[in-house]
Symmetry: C2
Subunit: 299 residues, 2 copies
Amino acid sequence: MLDYKLLQACAEVIRHASFEKAARELGLTQSAISQRVKLLEDRLGQPLIIRAKPIVATASGKRLLQHYQSVRLLEHDLQDDLPDIPSDGGFGQVALAVNADSFATWFVNVPKCLFDEFGLLVHLSVDDESLNHEALLDGRVLGAISLRPTPMQGCRARPLGKMRYVMVVSPEFQKRYFSAGVTADALRSCPAVNFSHHDELQNQYLKTHFGLNPGDFPAHTVPSSQGFVTVAEQGIAYAVVEIHQANDALRTGRLVQPCDHVIERPLYWHHRTMKSKLLDRVNETILSEARRFLPAIDR
Amino acid sequence: MLDYKLLQACAEVIRHASFEKAARELGLTQSAISQRVKLLEDRLGQPLIIRAKPIVATASGKRLLQHYQSVRLLEHDLQDDLPDIPSDGGFGQVALAVNADSFATWFVNVPKCLFDEFGLLVHLSVDDESLNHEALLDGRVLGAISLRPTPMQGCRARPLGKMRYVMVVSPEFQKRYFSAGVTADALRSCPAVNFSHHDELQNQYLKTHFGLNPGDFPAHTVPSSQGFVTVAEQGIAYAVVEIHQANDALRTGRLVQPCDHVIERPLYWHHRTMKSKLLDRVNETILSEARRFLPAIDR
């Protein structure tokens, strides 16, 4: 059988991409961690970690990390049935990859549900699509939110619902720039707000509805979903945001919708196909939270 | 004299690390952009861009980008004096690097001031310290917020003030976990919340005041300043946050401070030393906003 002490050391180095952080996490010295990884590599007869900056896992290293995460899941189920087995500080752990707009809207109560109901510590990473899929494939996360409808190998993709994006502005901004309505000409001379992962979305919005190409309109850059709403409320840009982010401000009149165009984005929950009570619970929590907020995807 | 059409193409490729985005930004085809970069490289007799994924600038490429940004600054000053020269969509542009906690607190009004007073489109990048310094050195940003007191070559570092970090929890969390006060034992058995760039700060907080090492205490991971306050309000973690982030919630009683310990972090504004009216205005705006919110750094 594998030596799980060694495997744990190796998995934590890969997860943190750092010997130092893995050492801290496990309460060991860096040299102890390093020895364990070396020993495991010797026993398996192949390198598991490429010692570059940043540290990268080899294909074998990634595969081992996956295996390690699966074993942890099974252990968690076991603790459920045999509650006397001690777990880390009394809590289980689950790592999830989320897109920024979900994190800023319907996803907000998921960590609370997982902690309150199942005693889980939640480790979120908020990255772009392709990095989220990579994290799922590598076994660094148990599940990932994504716009892709098709599952990857060994995974399942389940519909979460549609995010709906609308244009919002402050009443003053509307008066100043959109007094004759939202037209291509008006959009050429007032600032939008870009967010790297929003660009594609906003570009499609302005192209589809107004025939504008990127470069045709001026824009600020603010890499934060929350920041988007803030600059719109401050009246220095129009913003294309997920409707839930603007609900409060629309209700109180701090923001208005200067036009009725909507862009929809279907969202999917990707997770490994494996038997685990913990995974089932996480899946149920996320699917039910999504359905509370998001309209269903059209068939 | 340099051909600035070529230089602009090259600078945008470096700034966006993408031929495709540079093409969109300038309203050109990718092949036109690629030809311009190639032509400039031929004329200067050296490579400016390493065509890898992601695209990287060579040392010469970086130096040229710096020069390009300086010329853009000087142009902006010129437009000020000769208002008939057309600029991009009627707006100037300024790129700034910010740390996440500043962005979530005292910095929030800076883009509005720069847009309202000087008609500037503001491009923010929110990254960690070392990446912010790199962006300043490379000329991708005009200035950067940082904890480092010492200026880099060709730059100036000016004190902004102290950020002050305190521990906050929901009243229910306090009752449940800290009924006998905040002690090392209590902290061993209730969740903190980590944010990669916060780790060092929270670790110091828990080490200095409670003798705890990382790994001694359970923690969620939430990579968002806003998310820190949210999970604390939801009562699933205690959080060590910049005091301004929690002010509203402390006032209304959604959060309380379970102990009086404070950690302070002096902040500095780093910018190039060059003569430019635009830069002077940006500096003044940022320094005066910081001083409105942050107490002065002790001498």
